[in-house]
Amino acid sequence: MRQPSLHPIDERAAVTVHDLTVAYRDDPVLWDVDLSIPTGTLTAIIGPNGAGKSTLMKAILGLVPMAAGTVEIFGHTSELQRKLVGYVPQRGSVDWQFPTDALDVVTMGTYGQLGWIRRPGKAEKQRAMDALEQMGMADFAHRQISQLSGGQQQRVFLARALVQDAQLYFMDEPFVGVDARTEAAIIDLLKNLRDRGKTVVVVHHDLDSAPHYFDHVVLLNVQKIASGPMATTFTTENLERTYGAGKAMTREAVS
């Protein structure tokens, strides 16, 4: 059984990635990435398709093996810091026909704290309910998940991450395929989390909205192109280097 880790929190950086290389069947997906994400920021990971955005997130979470480099979360390995991390996978990665309701999905966020075998009880259910409430989904608690709209499903996923009560959140493309109301709810949530001192890292692909939603940015295309505060990093020059002047964007170039 896992106990919550009580390692001191590094005040400066929530995530430190050093010389990270990730390969799929020995072909590099991420190459020699060095970056650090300051605590208390809203950071977007931006780059073209196949740039390794999701892979970077999964490598930080310890979900894919690293070929080289190190990752630290608040100064320790991600293995030790699981309890401090919340994760929102892509909505398309699960089967929404699964026989379960919104409340139950959100309750899954407590499984990490519960550890093996122990079942969620009243306290966990209540916390799940509160999280649904916060996402404006309380009325849908007992709705079968396939009967929710795309935006509502995304809010359920976010509520599940809230229940994890983490210090650091990772969200994989939360804005994809959601309605305007959900988009606004997600923005509110992100700002709220930041105001409470949490750090949020989001894989994002919409260049227009990025500067309005986030204060930090990581520009990625297999290698890290640039990272830092939005104002100084999200420049035309850096974007051109990320997306290339056309020729560099073909997939063959990766292999």
Partner: protein, 374 residues
């Protein structure tokens, strides 16, 4: 003809006839439909025999084909209710049909000529003794006639519909737009599969039909990427399996159908291991080369990134390289050796330094071309 020759010929013809449609089933990811059909024809066969009052080949075949088509229709109807997925629909329909067939046999048609073991593994052993008799004349072994006709039907149909099948398999929407209805082609293929299954059923039994349809085609698919080669290849592999399996079964005095499938399985295993492109051995070899190249890339890239930076000295020490790149000391030494053999690095005093040639190599690395690095 000796009885051995008849059995061998029946096996070869049967294996070739089955393998041909198998190619398309595999490419359309419908291999398990063969399994469903081969079991589900049982009640139709029994019903046909009952109607004819004897094990009449034609009536039995008509009944079995009807049952096969009923199965395909039922599976698709269930799927269309959107309450079950395709695989589940198959897994519900074919056991029900098979169960129905078994009950019919045991309950009402115990006198019908149908041995339950033969349902599962056929009786190719007796193929020389069942003769085709037409108005009093012995025209030779019935199984040879059946298998020859079957092979003829399959070759003709697949040759005539080759273009249509090919296009509707790879791009159903294009096929539709060109006026070849993918639905019609789908049902034609299902009909062909049903006829093949029914014909081969008597020789090798229900489950081994599945093997002869799927396994040679899967083996050929491991060896080639071209459709026409895959079809011819699967027929050849099927024929070889029939020959090898016959001798294997004779050698240890056991089921010939079992021997044929075992041989087909052995060929599949060989292809899986040794196919030049898809084979596991070749893949392993490629992975090793790739890993070495990748390790080399990693090393020079690491050195390149830290060149002329504050931590250059510490990052390029022998000990640190291994730790940073997750290598054992052995692995690190081997890679550094390989790099210095190629003149990309030199190492002295416990530090590794990039050469001009190494720097040049880094700049040509494919990942570097992806983005413009200053």
């Amino acid at each position: 003809m000796t009885s051995g020759t008849v059995i061998l010929l029946t096996g070869i013809l049967c294996a070739m006839a089955c393998a041909l449609p198998g190619t398309f089933l595999i490419l359309r990811r419908m291999a398990m439909m063969t399994d469903a059909i081969s079991h589900a024809i049982l009640p139709g066969l029994v019903f046909g025999y009952w109607l004819a009052g004897s094990a009449n080949l034609i009536v039995g075949a008509v009944g079995a084909t009807a049952a096969a088509i009923l199965t395909v229709t039922l599976v698709e109807a269930l799927q269309r209710t959107r309450r079950v997925r395709g695989a589940e629909a198959m897994g519900i329909v074919f056991p029900a049909m098979f169960a129905l067939g078994t009950i019919l046999i045991s309950r009402y048609f115990a006198n019908v000529h149908l041995d339950t073991d033969a349902i599962l593994y056929g009786n190719i052993e007796f193929s020389a003794f069942e003769r085709l008799v037409w108005s009093g004349r012995d025209l030779g072994p019935q199984s040879l006639w059946v298998m020859s006709i079957l092979l003829f039907i399959n070759i003709t149909t697949l040759t005539l519909l080759y273009k249509e099948l090919k296009i509707s398999t790879f791009d159903p929407e294009l096929a539709q737009s060109l006026g070849f209805s993918p639905v019609l082609i789908h049902y034609l293929l299902m009909l062909l599969l049903s006829v093949t299954t029914v014909g081969a059923f008597t020789a090798v039994g229900a489950i081994l039909v599945v093997a002869l349809v799927i396994v040679p085609a899967a083996t050929a698919y491991l060896l080639t990427d071209r459709l026409i080669e895959m079809m011819v290849g699967s027929a050849l592999i099927g024929a070889l399996a029939a020959i090898g399996g016959y001798w294997l079964a004779m050698g240890i005095d056991s089921s010939i159908a079992g021997g044929i499938v075992t041989m087909a399985g052995a060929f599949f295993g060989l292809a899986l291991l040794f196919s030049p492109n898809q084979g596991l051995v070749a893949q392993r070899h490629r992975a090793r080369l790739n890993k070495q190249r990748f390790a080399l890339d990693l090393l020079v890239m690491h050195l390149f990134t830290h060149e002329r930076t504050a931590d250059e000295y510490s990052e390029s020490s022998l000990g640190h390289i291994g730790a940073a790149l997750h290598w054992s000391p052995d692995e690190a030494m081997r890679t550094i050796q390989r790099a210095s053999d190629r003149g990309m690095v030199v190492h002295a005093n416990g530090n590794v330094v990039l050469t001009e040639q190494g720097r040049h190599y880094v700049q040509r690395l494919s990942v570097m071309n992806r983005v413009q690095v200053q």
